[in-house]
Symmetry: C2
């Protein structure tokens, strides 16, 4: 029979990363495309021990759990949030299947089809997919290296009355951008003045290369966590391991209660085996030390990639070294379409994500996102060599 | 600030089960309310060994996975589906966070707001919540003990042009009803003739008390699994353990592809630690023997509860013994509102789910769902005693 799919699905663009993974299947490809953390840094033994403790706690550990998530883990996470200046109690927190689900639930409970959401230029592509699926109008706010330009944000707030503003203020994906404290404060004031909720997506905040640097979250800048405009979301995917699919959101307890109602219909709850394992891990494993170690190594890899690129001496290729996170953002020569470059690159055995996918509108096609956390040493060097070959061939052609 | 929630959330009824759990918090309550499997039957040791094998396979086991789910588990599940007469290849299967998420994804990809979905009378309440959240019109098809009455279904199909039909044809929730083979075949023909997709939700099919009984799935009755109207969903929550939150859907590969696109935006993928653990479990643990043992014990518990109720000799209380599944469905005296009875019952230390929650429209308020899998022996007997007290007090009052 003929299947008639929902309107929301027909409009959904397919993910560039996904399409690339298809192109690379079965080939020996070095990939700078995914946002994969380095497997060799996963605390496998600690996770195994934590899981063992969960199993030792008895059969109850395998039963259904609360939609909001395993309470002891929420309690521990509240302490971790407090250490970052975010005072919340467990009723203000929900555990999710990665922070991706937190984005989905926030949009589900706070927006109606046709509403407007404001985003950074460029922004996280899988958030754009969520907005598309919920039928939102996405408006890109002009940005510079300090974050969203407040005047443009205010203009769009007044003109478009958005129901939500979405951003990754610390080590943004794809650019690695860090919002200045002034912009954070200014944005918070705008959100309060105009009554617009702000979704602060923070998967990378812990991955900072300068240990002493402090980037206060917008959530922590609120006077009270109840009644404020900021919904904050974090994840264990980059600091422990992605397979456990555990993220969290904190917000006003009314918002969390709504998210729990939505989540109950969506999947009842996320894996409590994973949540209990993470709860045990936090009790017995020095996670903060581990995070500092990861961040240091990722910082070294970023410098390694940066040095390799600089050594190539490409004409008209610009980038700045990020202060944290997982990505290097390249601006390629004007007029070059990086999606075409990608097809050529895959032929050479190297993949990356073309920048156009990260724009809500008016994509800058001569941009590319390169991940530096998953490749190192010879593989990293070979990847840059292959990228260089593709670029040389391509720029000769255009 | 004032939060303006989405229209879809304002219409969502809160779950009766959830509200009851709140009433019971902190009290010593015997609960026949939840659909909880018996913890003492969870194969804890086998799950632990399976998880150990996953950890022994190395750090790659903690990395991001495919949205469609862990391929080796999908392959094994395809073999299990084939053993039930459902021939599918892994491209026709997606793993989900419990089968609840499969319901959510099917609705997301196949319906638009305002569309009609047909359901049984009564039907699974958390499916009703999904339909509400997606803005669907829910029409209840008349049912008898054989399943949906085909004439009424056809009338509604012609009048309302539904985008989806949803049912639990084997050991329905809440009634325990099993559709006859004739009704299954007739429904399949209707779906093909009118081009309506049919979501066959089968969380309980394995929990059958008569081992030799055979209830063919509607999916297996299709001539081809590609191009047919049936989307089938199953889960490990009742046969292994709920905490691993792993369900699956099988369908035409185009539908699965769409569900994968929707799932990517919803949560990227479900826990691959759980999926890999289940994959190992299936390789080393005699799951089918385990399922037969569970079903036998649940059958005994159902008879135990049934005998206790019969011994009470309640006037005007009717039920039939289900042939499988987890619930006993009571029809209480005419005019009795079981939601009021519940409030009284909770005072006595016993909880159940009032039947009204399971109706899309025109609820029969004198009905109640009792779970028999989670209580046994003295606890079960005490629960029925308390229920009897509440009922006696209540019928005296009304």
């Amino acid at each position: 029979m003929n299947y008639q799919f929902a309107g929301r699905m027909q409009q959904l663009k397919s993910s560039a990363v996904r399409d690339i993974l298809k192109l690379t299947q079965g080939r020996e490809i070095i990939s700078f495309a995914g946002g994969l953390p380095a497997e060799e840094l996963f605390p496998l033994e600690a996770v195994r021990e934590a899981a063992d403790r969960v199993f030792a706690s008895g059969r109850q550990s395998l039963q259904y759990g609360l939609t909001e998530g395993f309470t002891p883990l929420r309690e521990q996470l509240c302490d971790r949030m407090a250490a970052k200046g975010m005072q919340v109690h467990p009723d203000q927190m929900i555990l999710t299947t990665g922070s991706q689900q937190a984005i989905d639930l926030v949009v589900k409970v706070l927006t109606d089809p046709g509403d407007t959401v404001l985003v950074e230029t460029p922004t996280y592509l899988a958030a754009l997919q969520v907005f598309q699926l919920y039928g939102l109008q996405v408006e890109a706010v002009e940005c510079d290296e300090q974050g969203m330009i407040l005047e443009d944000a205010e203009r769009l707030i007044r003109e478009r009355r958005p129901r939500l503003i979405y951003a990754v203020p610390t080590f943004g994906n794809p650019t690695g951008r860090v919002w200045s404290e002034e912009r954070r404060r200014g944005m918070l004031e705008l959100c309060i003045r105009y009554g617009v909720p702000f979704l602060e997506d923070d998967p990378y905040g812990d991955i900072k290369f300068d240990e002493s640097a402090h980037y206060p979250t917008l959530f922590s800048m609120q006077q009270h966590s109840e009644g404020g405009p900021v919904i904050y979301t974090g994840t264990f995917s980059k600091t422990v391991a992605p397979a456990l699919r555990t993220g969290w959101a904190i917000a006003d307890s009314r918002i969390i209660r709504m998210m729990a109602k939505a989540k109950q219909a969506a999947d009842l709850h996320s894996s409590t085996l994973d949540q209990q394992t993470l709860d045990q891990l936090l009790r017995h494993f020095p996670l903060d030390r581990h995070i500092r170690a990861i961040a240091r190594i990722y910082g070294e890899r970023m410098l390694e990639m940066s040095a390799l690129i600089k050594r190539q001496g490409w004409k008209d290729v610009r980038f700045s070294e990020p202060k944290g996170g997982m990505f290097l953002w390249l601006e390629l020569p004007e007029g070059l379409d990086s999606e075409a470059l990608l097809r050529c690159s895959v032929g050479k055995g190297i993949a990356f994500v073309p920048g156009a996918s990260f724009y809500a509108s008016e994509p800058k096609r001569n941009t590319a996102r390169l991940n530096y956390t998953h490749s190192t040493g010879e593989r990293l060097a070979a990847g840059i060599e292959r990228f260089a070959e593709a670029l040389a061939e391509f720029t000769a052609r255009c």
